[in-house]
């Protein structure tokens, strides 16, 4: 068996595409990078034999791995991926800038937030219509695009602005999605998600998986870069190899930010298309128009977010008595 044939998503274990992309792939890539460095002679506690890394020996070692060793590698990778899975949310929040207080101060959280605010204000200035009476078509389109960009990348209230671009992309989504209909997106989404249509859910899932995969890669590759730096500490100029996973981490973080913008758009669309399906699933009467809809959805959001009970005047839809259906006719008859 070769390394290449071992790199297959073990979906028969119930992992699935998401678990492979988000969980296993980053850990597998990291493990292989560090193993190759180790096989090439990188040892943090001593200089490599001959003073240089030997990648030909590393490839030879990799190619000679037995079935048992490959199985052990895959099990180890899967185990790490499973252990990291519950931390995915915390990991994304870390990348959003939700840093523990002592570390937050040390990492310049305030300075980073001020930088993000400056970018937000620059976009807001471009989106402003200073003199509507003298507006040209070109100026209007530029301002419109800047306004869309502002709403996509930043939450509207300044106090919600976070230290990182990823944090602000997700804050923009959580601040804006469903708002036009009175919903608090964070409170409503766990209830809306199960009633999404197939096509909407496919788009939402795809973009969420891309976001989570990129975020996981950014974190895992950053840790890999640090581990590689430790392994290569006594290897002279080879230490520069530690920049590879760090560069990959930076690239993955940029990908996570763009994936968050795309995910935000998908969540907005999900609210647009399926918000009334949510009311049907809750057996609530469909509101007559936008204003009563906003009132009802604000009440639901209060209930889900802070436990405030619904207005006692709220009405459930009457129970439907099914009518007998005519036999549609099939190739072999209908059974029940």
């Amino acid at each position: 068996m070769s390394l290449a044939s071992a790199v297959r998503p073990p979906s028969e274990l119930g992992g699935g595409r998401r678990f492979f992309a988000v969980g296993q792939l980053p850990v597998l890539a990291s493990a292989l990078f560090l193993l190759v460095l180790g096989w090439a002679g990188a040892r943090g506690w001593e200089r490599p034999p001959g003073g240089a890394l030997r990648f030909d020996e590393a490839w030879a070692t990799a190619g000679a791995l037995g079935v048992g060793e490959l199985v052990a590698l895959l099990i180890g990778v899967t185990l790490v991926a499973v252990l990291l899975q519950p931390f995915q949310l915390g990991l994304v929040r870390l990348l959003e800038g939700d840093w523990p207080r002592p570390f937050g101060v040390g990492l310049g959280a305030e300075r980073a937030t001020r930088r993000q605010l400056a970018r937000k204000r620059a976009l807001a200035a471009e989106a402003a219509l200073a003199d509507p009476g003298a507006l040209t078509e070109e100026r209007m389109q530029r301002a419109g695009r800047a306004g869309s960009e502002l709403r996509r990348r930043f939450p509207l209230p300044d106090h919600l602005v976070r230290p990182t671009a990823l944090g602000n992309a997700l804050a923009a989504l959580e601040d804006g999605a469903g708002r036009a209909y009175g919903f608090d997106a964070v409170a409503a989404w766990p209830r809306l998600y199960p009633v999404l249509g197939e096509e909407t859910r496919a788009v939402v899932d795809d973009r969420r998986d891309a976001l989570d995969a990129a975020a996981r890669m950014a974190a895992v590759f950053a840790v890999t870069g640090l581990a590689a730096a430790l392994l290569l500490a006594r290897s002279g100029w080879w230490l520069a190899l530690a920049l590879i996973p760090l560069a990959a981490a930076r690239l993955a973080y940029g990908g996570a930010v763009r994936a968050a913008w795309a995910y935000g758009e998908a969540v907005h669309v999900a609210f647009d298309l399926h918000r009334l399906d949510l009311l049907s699933a809750l057996c609530l009467e469909r509101p007559a128009g936008p204003l009563p809809e906003r009132v009802l959805n604000a009440q639901l959001s209060d209930l889900w977010r802070q436990g405030v009970p619904l207005d006692p005047a709220t009405r459930y839809t009457p129970e439907h008595t099914p009518e007998p259906d005519p036999d549609q006719g099939t190739a072999g008859g209908t059974t029940r």
Binding site: R93, L173, D175, V186, E198, V308, T330, A331, T334
Partner: protein, 143 residues
Amino acid sequence: MIVDTDVNRARGLYGRLIDTAATRFGAALDLDPDDRADEVSRRLAELFEGRPGIEGVMLRLKGRDVGVATPQRVGAAEGFAGPAPEWGAGDRAGLPGRSGRYRPVWFDCAAPGCGAAEARSFYDERAVPACPDEAHGPMELRR
């Protein structure tokens, strides 16, 4: 009335039994919206066992086609009917962040002329604030 939501929900619920590429079927099985997935799987298995020649069974919800279940899919599902489980897929059902829409939950004393008010960060019927005047009892939620 059956709406697309019910059909879509059924497609998700019985996803592992349905072969989206299959178009031919020799029988149909009518479902109710609240039929359990494992029960549907069992009934399909019995149907295929009793009629070994049929290629598939159309699942229907009040006259609306849901999808064609095949013997291969029913056999592979082994008693499960939902879509193939994915580790970590549940993360998709929540947004990563926290709400920025918290508001004070106000309570007012119901006693005429009292005017006492208190705010809480959440509502729980077991923790309704009481008026400072003990005689007035618990306050009422302000809507």
